[in-house]
Symmetry: C2
Subunit: 422 residues, 2 copies
């Protein structure tokens, strides 16, 4: 058992609020949360929080981890050029070996940012899974089926295979996007949702052109189309959701769907500013993701939280438009629910020990009028003292405990990146 | 002499580009930049850059350092409430003792972000200067004269006094803003500009309401008004500059004025997105600042650089609208020129030894397709390995070398913050 003491805890049961408490973990789970007590236990390790704060780890609720291979490769170009000349051709050259190596870089980066689980949509799933399991990181894979797949049935195969792949890995039905997925494939996805009573996820209304294209093709928004096909009958949600209409948001509410916002990516690719106030006001669950590093270019939840909290203010031209508490809750807690990880949403006995310890004795967190706002508006990776996944400390004081020298990982990533983009 | 070796240098002479080189500093200056050579010198210290990159330190070209005292005190409120109920009444209670203590918190935070000089606008200037000089930090103070000042002549007194206050401190003429400064005071500022052939700075066109109010009062934009009064006859510039018209930008170009952008603050306070592409296209000098921590809430140039590079993309709905190189140049180099620190704009013999060493062996900087874009789009305080001001290492590997225990500074800041906001 590991004991965290001499600090504060934001359990995320209810609104975010820090309270003085100890947390004990036992294996992959949380065993105790509460005041100091002497149970005569001999702990495997006792961690002095030095007044810092323990939170449920951040959930990166939309990413493409292995896209680290294109980080800073094709920035500041028009979206079309970026996608068709700089992403697709090189993705075609990405092998399982590449996905394995570049996913490791991503996992290291997640850890520096206090991220304890990712919701990842990509390919070469065996290689991807291997990298995550080897490092002890938690990931939920999302189906990415589209018209380029030769065998749509792979979606069902993967769903069954990766949901039986151990406690760190799970799989959720999904497809790439409306504009890349023809009607028969969408209907097939809907049939799987029905067969397994399972949620479905996809890129949804990321750009204005995507929504207009869909309306042009079938007279409905992407959300309306998916709903009409039964794809959202058992929940799920959308990534990006920049251009949701009021009616779309109402469908999200009725179906219990989640919105994952990716503010950095939406700004950098000039997709737009998402209607997050409207989403929250409708009672729709909100989660936060980084998107892939080819578009963002960092896997940093502090950046995303900050943007998710402030961009709605400028979108609505109202400094009171969003409260930082709602965004911290989205990042730590709602993300877990969206990803099908209800045991990772809060700090309570029996929940998974997926935790981030923030150091508040740094200038950016001083003085402390309001801890939650300090975290969202001033927090940074500088404050991440420790990241624990499934009861194991994987990152602490800037060092990684993943069983491998990071410099070796970087060297391999650079070698492969050169090879692919040569 | 101190030697930096085994790394790369972005000198900022010309477009940002990394080259393998050594840098030697001697006292407060740079003594040598170039290939490894053996001059038989016995260095005081030799710093292995381990493949990292040395840049001219970031210039925080607009801030109110001591406003750390209100960090996270009044967020998520309408701009008016924030300013009139949560800022002004507490500022009135801020003493020199407070400015001294809270400026120290700010300087510590600047150092974590690789910032080597600040352009600060506030009050209790003696206390402010003391904090900076004690820590060895470089600051340029900006006059903040306005209608609440009982004695406008203090501007001239301060100008003379602080420009003779030693090599770390200088002072530039300035006033708070058009809407807080009546015509006679503006005319007095213009007379000083003329008398000393000196540049003048002010908050300029931060909000739409400010510009509309000015047009209502005098039929001109703030920039047109200042120009008509001769305030900008000897250069200077504006902070924020969110609502500059085309004609305003043309005045900036003709007068050789600088724009300092404060993107975090402008977004969080719902002021708007600044026309940075238009500014650069006109050939106007661009610098980057954090604004004060009451509005931002962090003093983090990585956040500002990222936003300055990506927000113009969404403003113009064009992913190619801004190039990261231009923003890195603005943050390291143009900021120095704007602040009247031409010796701090680049790494070359004779220039001041104000440097930041970035660690690139971190996951967020891997792989390395493009170092400059990695820094602007993926860089973070995590990468700041060392910050040197005037030849002295003030921050290294997360530790401060300012002659004082930071925990003592935080404790004092918290004590005073409670007292002021009680």
């Amino acid at each position: 058992m590991i004991r965290f003491y001499n600090g504060r805890v934001v359990t995320m049961a209810g609104a975010p609020r820090a309270e003085a408490a100890e947390v004990w973990t036992d294996g992959g789970k949380i065993a105790y949360v509460g005041p100091q007590k002497d149970d005569g236990i001999v702990f495997e390790r006792e961690i002095d929080m030095r007044g810092g704060v323990l939170l449920p780890g951040f959930k990166d609720a939309h990413t493409h981890s292995a896209m680290t291979f294109l980080r800073s490769f094709a920035d500041d170009e028009p979206l079309d050029t970026w996608l068709h000349k700089k992403v697709f051709p090189y993705e075609a050259k990405l092998t399982g070996e590449g996905v394995y190596a570049f996913s490791k870089v991503a996992v290291l980066e997640y850890l520096t940012s206090g991220i304890t689980a990712s919701f990842d949509m990509y390919f070469h799933n065996d290689a991807y899974t291997a990298a995550n399991v080897e490092y002890g990181f938690r990931t939920v894979m999302c189906g990415a089926i589209n018209d380029f797949d030769k065998r749509p049935e792979k979606l069902e195969d993967d769903f069954l295979k990766y949901n039986a792949a151990g406690e760190l890995v799970s799989y959720i039905l999904g497809f790439h996007a409306e504009y890349t997925t023809s009607r028969p494939v969408l209907e097939y996805v809907a049939s799987l949702a029905k067969k397994y009573r399972a949620p479905v996820w996809t890129h949804n209304s990321e750009t204005k052109a995507e929504v207009e294209g869909c309306i042009g093709r079938c007279g409905m928004t992407p959300t309306e189309l998916f709903d009409s096909l039964g794809i959202y009958d058992y929940g799920g949600g959308g990534f990006h959701c920049v251009w949701l209409s009021e009616h779309d948001i109402d469908i999200f509410r009725r179906r219990g769907l989640y919105v994952v916002t990716n503010p950095s990516s939406n700004v950098k690719l000039a997709s737009g500013l998402a209607p997050l106030c409207e989403v929250l006001r409708a009672g729709v669950g909100l989660a936060v993701g980084t998107d892939g590093p080819a578009s963002n270019n960092a896997l940093d939840m502090f950046r995303e939280m900050y943007l998710a909290a402030v961009l709605p203010k400028v979108r609505n031209m109202d400094a009171a438009a969003m409260d930082a508490s709602d965004i911290l809750k989205a990042a730590c807690s709602t993300g877990a629910l969206a990803m099908g990880l209800p045991d990772c949403d809060s700090i309570a006995p029996g929940k998974r020990a997926d935790l981030v310890l923030l150091d508040t004795q740094r200038p950016n967190m001083q003085p402390e009028h309001n801890l939650v706002k300090n975290i969202v508006y001033a927090g940074s990776k500088e404050n991440v003292r420790l990241t624990m996944v499934n009861g194991r400390v994987l990152y602490e004081n800037g060092e990684f405990f993943v069983g491998e020298d990071p410099e070796k990982v970087y060297a391999e990533a650079n070698r492969l990146a050169k090879e692919i983009t040569a």
